[in-house]
């Protein structure tokens, strides 16, 4: 089943297309490229083509440093939901690199992991898993809305006297 994009509390249309290592590069539109391919073509791609990058779990986000100012979207792949490297990649992009564009979780993105992903700085989610899609459509929130450590999600508020406790911003999901 094709993935659907969930952003800001709703499923929305997505203008971006994922391209593989060998897919031909179009002249226009907007494509998400694996890191290696992105680095290869970024200097020469037509200006009319929107470029974004897909980081896999083992990729080094530092490689994007020179290009961050031109990037509006970075996708991070969760090939398996149980592989948590993507969480650190997201935090590094926000924390170390100050990336403030869209961070999109793709791959095996499931309902119970979305709250964690949001806190690590993800703002958009490509959903394939049907029960997850149904739950999100129904506004089913599975989050523990009290946090015991600071993270990257915008708008989290310190909770009371505690130095590192947080509550979510006013709106959830």
């Amino acid at each position: 089943m094709a993935a659907q994009l969930f952003r800001d509390g709703a499923f929305v249309a997505d203008d971006w297309h994922h391209l593989g290592e060998d897919d031909p590069l179009p002249d226009s539109g907007a494509v998400i490229l694996p890191l290696g391919r992105y680095l290869e073509v970024v200097a020469t791609a037509p200006a009319s083509l929107g470029l974004a990058v897909l980081l896999r779990a083992g990729d080094e986000p530092d490689a994007l440093q020179p290009h961050l100012s031109q990037l509006g979207l970075i996708a991070v792949d969760f090939a398996k939901f149980s592989d948590g490297r993507g969480y650190s990649i997201a935090r590094l992009l926000r924390q170390r690199h100050g990336f403030d564009g869209e961070l999109r979780a793709v791959g095996d993105v499931l309902l119970d992991q979305i709250p964690l992903m949001r806190r690590c700085g993800f703002t958009a989610f490509e959903i394939v898993h049907a029960p997850t899609r149904r739950a999100l459509e129904a506004g089913h929130d599975v989050e523990v809305p009290l946090y015991l450590q600071p993270a990257e999600r915008a708008g989290e508020r310190p909770a009371g006297a505690r130095a590192w406790a947080r509550r979510p911003a006013a709106s959830r999901i």
């Binding site: 149980s82 490297r85 964690l116 992903m117 739950a135 009290l146 450590q149 600071p150 993270a151």
Partner: protein
């Protein structure tokens, strides 16, 4: 002790709600078993050989009477009337039904308990010295830092899907009773010349199939940098720890394969970036948490010699005092070890009635404090010496007065074949048979300090690698077989035991242990040279000779 505020209460009940919903979605088929598994593990729910198992956290091993009574209630209501205290200061219930688990968690939440992160590939229950806040040799109470770590690590968004489980232990005394060097992160709290608090930081210890002693990466990490430094270690581990093979996924393997110097540089680099950020601990927050752990008002009372008179009159009490009392920092006080190793019983088990009895003793004589030790015993940390005879009587009434703390029958054993799906051999019955063999009081006392640890498979839940005598049950041609290691130790001089030679059958293994013990008695310098010291002095040759007849 730490008390929940409104935030913690809301947190735990939201977590119960979340898990209840996860169970519902599992039963409705929205989650398959693969997807559900890490979620239930993160809430302490294991699937065992016969049933689900629920592991409840006892953070840094500290609990009060009301909490112990609640554990008794859960054991009685939802289980078969007993619970099993583990080597990581948790309690396990072996027979709950999945559908009851949300209700159990609600009951536990009423007394500020939970099962969060007692399992799964996340940061586990943080453990600490079971004599914290009481021991005479303590430099400072490590529990405030364990609590700070517990809070920071709870549902940590970045570190909930680590390559493998991650265990942190903290001690605040020079004599390490928390086995910090066999943890993923071991912290030894200390003070510098100016009285500032900091930690020696050890990384990459662990047992399992590749046992390793942790490497020191910091000699003195200032306390305010504790969380930032741990976050840096976890981040490096989360990114670079191996995920291709679960047996190579612990941080110990990363340390081993990367080299400690390189890895340390990576950690320091990650640390530098966040060192001055929001994770820097403010002193007032450290103070606020520390206040929860303020010592009770100790008052020794006038009759300083009461205990001496009582022991003179009662040899059984005298034996108990000799073995099961630990020096206390307050005059007139002692810490009392309650052995969960009655002769011939399963190590670490306690019945609901015993839990209630211990709760009552703690409330009456122990400033309402109880500890769980990583040796699978209970501790009343603060008892007036004058009250020890009464405590001893109370323990006798409930069958927990065994005077064997630290002796040959104070055995650690994992659940093994009797409960565990991964087991290759029985371990509890081996412990029971050894216990019976050496169980007479005189013989035990004559043998002296000796730690025997037994695991039912290579995963080493019974810590056999750090037993003075370690026993590992394996399977060979369909038969149980037991490999013996000697010279292991899990304290400040941690060492991994060495395999002594070919293994022994289930029938032979107790005789083999007896041969080792007799050999030790024959060669010790003096009665106070304990087994480990003697082994370290003479090496394994005399023991090999005795077992196999070859030098």
């Amino acid at each position: 002790m730490y008390r929940y505020d409104e935030f913690d209460t809301d947190f735990v009940s939201a977590r119960v709600e979340q898990f209840t919903d996860q169970v519902r979605r599992r039963l409705a088929g929205d989650l398959d078993e693969d997807q559900f598994k890490p979620l239930r593990l993160m809430n302490g729910v294991y699937l065992q050989l016969h049933a689900y198992m629920l592991r409840v956290a006892i953070p840094y091993g500290t609990l009060n009477g009301a909490q112990m009574r609640k554990l008794a209630y859960v054991a009685r209501t939802y289980d078969r009337g007993y619970g099993h205290f583990t080597t990581r200061q948790n309690i396990q219930f072996n027979w709950p039904r999945l559908k009851d688990i949300p209700a159990i968690l609600e009951e536990l939440a009423k007394v500020e308990m939970h099962a969060i992160q007692t399992s799964g590939n996340c940061i586990r229950n943080v453990t600490a010295d079971h004599f914290s806040g009481a021991a005479a040799d303590e430099i400072l109470d490590p529990r405030p830092y364990a609590e700070i770590l517990r809070q920071w690590s709870s549902l940590h968004p970045e570190f909930s899907f680590l390559p493998r489980k991650f265990k942190i232990a903290v001690t605040g005394a020079p004599h390490d009773r928390a086995a910090v060097q066999v943890h993923d992160i071991g912290l030894q709290a200390k003070r510098d010349a100016n009285g500032n608090v900091g930690f020696a930081v050890f990384v990459g210890g662990g047992l399992g199939r590749t046992p390793m002693i942790a490497r020191k990466v910091r000699d003195f990490l200032p306390e305010e940098e504790l969380l930032a430094y741990c976050e840096a270690i976890l981040r490096v581990y989360n990114r670079y720890g191996r995920r291709d093979n679960k047996y190579k996924a612990r941080i110990k393997i990363l340390v081993h394969e990367t080299g400690v110097e390189t890895l340390k540089a990576d950690i320091e680099h990650a640390f530098e970036e966040i060192r001055h950020g929001v994770l820097r601990l403010p002193q007032d927050e450290i103070d606020r948490i520390t206040d929860y752990f303020a010592a009770p008002a100790f008052a020794a009372g006038a009759d300083a010699d009461a205990l001496d008179r009582a022991t003179a009159a009662d040899p059984a009490l005298a034996a108990f005092v000799e073995r099961n009392l630990q020096p206390h920092k307050a005059p007139g006080y002692a810490s009392v070890t309650i052995s969960l190793k009655p002769i011939g019983k399963a190590p670490g088990d306690a019945t609901a009635d015993q839990m209630d009895a211990v709760a009552a003793l703690a409330e009456r004589y122990g400033h309402d404090e109880i500890r769980v030790s990583h040796e699978q015993n209970l501790v009343l940390p603060h008892v007036r010496k004058a009250d020890v005879p009464a405590v001893f009587e109370g323990l006798k009434d409930t069958g927990l007065a065994e005077a064997n703390a630290g002796l040959v029958t104070d055995i650690i054993a994992c659940p093994g074949m009797d409960f565990c799906a991964l087991a290759t051999a029985r371990s509890i019955p081996v412990a029971q048979r050894i216990s019976e063999r050496f169980g007479t009081p005189d013989r035990q006392r004559d043998i002296g300090d000796l730690k025997i640890k037994i695991s039912g498979c290579i995963n080493a839940c019974g810590h056999h690698h750090v037993g003075h005598i370690g026993i590992l049950g394996v399977e060979k041609k369909g038969e149980e077989y037991y490999q013996i290691t000697l010279g292991g130790s899990g304290d400040e001089n941690s060492a991994i035991g060495e395999i002594i030679g070919r293994g022994f059958s289930y029938e032979e293994v107790v005789d083999a242990v007896e041969t080792l013990v007799d050999t030790y008695i024959g060669l010790r310098d003096a009665p106070d040279e304990d087994f480990l010291a003697a082994y370290r002095r003479v090496g394994d040759a005399p023991f090999k000779e005795a077992l196999y007849g070859t030098a």
